[in-house]
Amino acid sequence: MRNTVPHARTCAVLLAGTALAAVPAAPAAAAPGQGYVRLAHLSPDTPAVDVYLYAEGAKNPKLVLRHVAYGALSPYQRLGGGRYTVAMRPADASAASKPVLSAHVRVRAGASYTVAGMGPYKGIRLDVLHDTATLPAGRTGLRVIAASLKHPDLKVAAGGRTLIPQVRFGTATPYRTLAPGKVAVKVAAPGARASTRVALAAGTVHTVIALDGAKGLRLLDLRDAAKAAGTAPRGGVDTGLGGTATAGSAAAAGASPWWLAAPALPFGLGLYALRRRRAS
């Protein structure tokens, strides 16, 4: 998905199910100086919206997602660190019309966020969720977003044990730390239950969203960010044996080109002489 001016009818919203998620320990890693934002519609009785993302103060949006319906989330967009505004308008409303919702997001380098329309139609809010979690080494994180209007009070168990005794409709829990493994996440409400198998790898974090599906309570599992399961290598990498390093100065692969750094060399002298001749 490109962050370009929106003629983006084709800028379709990728729905969950593509496990584009994982969470790393803080501080996470975009290209240095960049963060990630994804957009979500989690209000069951709110119609589809067009979602606009603006750099702070900009008139033209950086990104437009069209016809984002309940239960849809975009992939993470990589953005330079800074301030942004997210605005939601009814689907097909003019870009100049007053948004029905808007929120400011401050994107910090290396951090991830979900900006979600949450709650019921009457009282819908645009919440900015922080998707970056600090995890102890070798652990994983799991949080739940309650987005079912029919079953507004949920209890969540993971791996057979109660993880979250209660989560109310329109709220997101913080990430809970868990041991890695493939666990059954079970969500229960009076008269309803749903379950999904989540593969929790060390160093990753997941968001499970409880939604109203065609057949009752439905769970969406998103891996918010991923990294290698084991401990990261320590320190740097010794990938150089010195064959191109010049005497007393940086390598060819390093700082200034050698012909600027070594005035004592004959070539340098030659240049100097040439300059003198020209000047006179």
């Binding site: 790393p24 309940y70 239960g71 849809a72 320190g235």
Partner: protein, 197 residues
């Protein structure tokens, strides 16, 4: 015909209007904006992400790099080993596969004892340059360079290089900076950050 006229009449009535003109009453409910009870979540349209194969070859056309990949691992001290062949780069095999979610890491020597090596020109890369990785099945995955940075090995940005990411990322690492002849190592690493295209 009648429906259209009716729709037009309705539009005219609603303060928001049906076009680009905002109505005089800014607080009026936009057209068609009302609660829709009983909506169900739209089912996901995309297939789950496929796991990529282990990489066997790397190509960086703009700097003339084409190399098969050794498999790298950490030593007893936890430090990442380097390719035995200076003309080959290596992939950190216990890490992420290029194209999978998270940061894949490939390292290569900038020079051998006698001259330039596989990543001699790595620091010439610029944002926008293409990087391609092939797996054993022959599938290529493309990445685009976002940034090229140097960092002292003594203050290596481990979190930035190895920390989890929401998308598929790649880091290419080589040496740079001054060469410490007493210790036989360069003092800096040059790190190229790239995102799957």
């Amino acid at each position: 015909m009648i429906r259209r006229a009716l729709a037009a009449a309705l539009c005219a009535l609603l303060a928001g209007g049906c076009g680009a003109r905002p109505g005089p009453d800014a607080a009026a409910t936009p057209t068609g904006w009302r609660p829709v009870p009983g909506q169900v979540a739209v089912p996901p349209s995309a297939a789950p992400a496929v796991r990529h194969g282990a990489p066997v070859e790397l190509a960086v056309p703009s700097i003339g790099v084409r190399t098969r990949l050794e498999r790298l691992r950490t030593d007893a001290r936890g430090i990442l080993g380097t390719p035995r062949d200076p003309m080959k780069a290596g992939w950190y095999a216990a890490g992420v596969r290029p194209g999978d979610q998270g940061p894949a890491v490939i390292a290569g020597h900038v020079d051998s004892r006698t001259g330039p090596a596989v990543f001699a020109r790595l620091r010439e890369l610029r944002p926008g340059a293409a990087v391609r990785v092939r797996d054993a099945a022959g599938a290529w995955t493309a990445f685009t360079v976002d940034a090229v940075r140097s960092a002292p090995k003594a203050a290596f940005p481990t979190a930035e290089v190895y920390g989890a990411t929401p998308d598929a990322q790649l880091r290419l690492i080589t040496c740079g900076g001054a060469f410490d002849r007493a210790r036989g190592h360069y003092v800096e690493n040059v790190i190229v950050y790239a995102t799957m295209a």
